[in-house]
Symmetry: C2
C-alpha cells in the first residue's frame, strides 16, 4: 500500500474556498487516497509559524512532503507558509498578479473582504429564502406558491428538502416542495395533485433509483412497507410516468450531490440567482 | 463612470468551483464593479463555440474584453474557449500539470468526478444532518440533544436556523438550536433555560447588533414591540450578559456570512466534519 498523502487547506479566513478549489483538483486523481486537514483563520505570524511546524512534522512522519492549497491574501503570512517543505499551491498568488495587470489596478490585499456592507442585503435574501423553504416544505402549505421560483415534486426521500434549502442558502432562490404520495401515485390513474395545477411552469421533478431509495427509507423505518423494495419501485415508476405524461422536467438524483442537483435545476429552469 | 467589466464563470459542470475561485479573487478589487455571468454545463464542442460567440459579442458591445474564470477539464473544450478574445484564467490548466508532477501520476481528465460511489455515504450523512437540524430547530424538541454536536443559543432572528442548516449541508454536523426568549432574558435575573443545563459543553451563542436585529424583525412584524429598537437592545444586552456569566463562547454575526459563522463555530468548538 502507498502512504496516504496529506493535504492541508490553509486560509486566513474560513478555508472554504481553499477546500473547494483543492478538492476539485484532487477529484482528478481518483486512485490516490488523501488525508485532508483544514487550517482556517491563519491570520497572524505566530499562527503561520505554527502551521509550518505542523506541516513539516507531518511530512517527516509520513516520509513524503504534504501538499498545501492555500488562499492567503497577506503576502507576509503567505511567505511564512512558503518556508514549509510542502508542495505549495496558493490560489491568490497565482492569479492576483495577472488580474491586476488585466484590470490595471492594484488589489487591496485586505483579508476578510466578504464583510462588506453589501453583504447585509445578501444575508437577508438568503435567510428569507431559507425561511421560505422551511415554510413551504413537504406540501405543508401551498398558499405562498405564487412567490415560489420553483416547486420540487417527488416521492418521499427523493432529496427535495435539502435541495430547497441549498437553493435558498446558495442562490437566494425560493424553493417549495410537494410530496407525491401513494394517494397521487397508486390510484388507478396517477394524477397530478390538484394543488399544483396552477403552478405547472414552476414544477421540477426529482427521481431516484428504487434500490437507493429503499436503503434510505430503511434507515428511517426499517422493515416497513414504506421501505420495501417493491413499494419503492412502484412509487418511482409511477412518479416518473407522471413526469413524462405531464411534461414535467425531472432529474435522477441518485448519484449526484445536492450542489449539482441545485445547479442543474437553476440551469434547466432558467432561474436567476438573487445573491452572488 | 467606468464601464462595468463582464466576468464569465465557465464550467463543464455546475460552475460552483469557478464562481468560488473567481469571486474570491474579485473581492480583492473592491472599487471595480463587475457583471457576473455563469455558464454551467459547457460540455460539448457546440456549447463551447456558442459560449465563445457570447463572450466575444459582450466584449464588442462594451468595448472592453471580458474576463473568464473557468474550470474545464476536457482539454479540447478548453482550447475552444481559449480562442475567445477574453482574458482567460483556467483553474485546471494552471494547477493540474504541477499536481501531476508532484503526485507522479496523470490526472484522469474525466468530467464529473463527483459522481463517485463514495458520495453515496456523504449524501446520506448530509441529509441526516439536515433532518437533525430541522427536527431540533428553535427548541422544538430537546430529547435528541445527546446526538447534537453543537447547540446554538441566541435571541429570535440572530441567525441560528440557517447556521444549523449550513453546518448540516456543508459539514454533516448535527446542530440544534434553542431560542433565548423574553422569559429567560427579562426576568429579574437572566438565567439559562433549564433544558440546556446538561449540555453546557455543546452550547455556542450567536449575537447580533441591536439595530440590525431591529431591521430584520421589522420586516417580519413591522411596528411590533418585538421589532422595537428598545426591545432588541434589551434582549441582546441580556443575552450577551448571559453568555459571559455562563461562560458560553459566542460570536457577533452582524457582518459575517453564514459560511463564516459556520466555519468559525467548527473551529472554536473543535468540531470534526463528517463529510468532505
Amino acid at each position: 500500500m502507498n502512504v496516504r498523502r496529506t493535504v492541508f487547506f490553509v486560509s486566513d479566513r474560513t478555508g472554504i474556498t481553499a477546500e473547494t478549489l483543492g478538492q476539485s483538483l484532487l477529484t482528478q486523481f481518483d486512485h490516490i487516497e488523501f488525508d485532508l486537514i483544514t487550517m482556517p483563520f491563519i491570520d497572524t505570524h505566530e499562527k503561520a509559524s505554527n502551521a509550518v511546524v505542523r506541516i513539516n512534522s507531518t511530512g517527516q512522519e509520513k516520509g513524503i512532503r504534504p501538499i498545501v492549497f492555500s488562499t492567503l491574501i497577506d503576502p507576509e503570512i503567505r511567505e511564512i507558509l512558503m518556508t514549509s517543505n510542502a508542495a505549495f499551491f496558493d490560489f491568490f498568488e497565482t492569479f492576483i498578479s495577472p488580474l491586476e495587470s488585466e484590470l490595471s489596478v492594484q488589489s487591496s490585499h485586505v483579508v476578510g473582504r466578504y464583510h462588506s456592507q453589501a453583504s447585509d442585503t445578501a444575508y437577508q435574501i438568503r435567510i428569507d429564502a431559507v425561511n421560505y423553504a422551511l415554510q413551504n416544505d413537504d406540501g405543508m402549505s401551498t398558499k405562498d406558491y405564487d412567490k415560489a421560483d420553483v416547486i420540487l415534486v417527488g416521492v418521499s426521500r427523493s432529496g427535495k428538502t435539502p435541495t430547497c434549502l441549498y437553493l435558498g442558502l446558495q442562490f437566494g432562490i425560493h424553493g417549495a416542495n410537494y410530496p407525491l404520495t401513494e394517494e397521487n401515485l397508486l390510484s388507478r390513474y396517477s394524477k397530478m395533485p390538484d394543488a399544483l395545477e396552477s403552478y405547472r411552469k414552476k414544477l421540477y421533478g426529482l427521481s431516484i433509483n428504487p434500490d437507493r431509495l429503499q436503503k434510505i427509507r430503511a434507515e428511517r423505518r426499517p422493515d416497513s412497507r414504506y421501505a420495501s423494495l417493491k413499494q419503492c419501485q412502484l412509487e418511482v415508476f409511477r412518479a416518473e410516468s407522471l413526469f413524462y405524461s405531464e411534461n414535467i422536467p425531472f432529474l435522477n438524483t441518485t448519484m449526484i450531490s445536492v450542489e449539482e442537483i441545485a445547479a442543474t435545476i437553476m440551469h434547466e429552469m432558467k432561474l436567476v440567482r438573487r445573491v452572488h
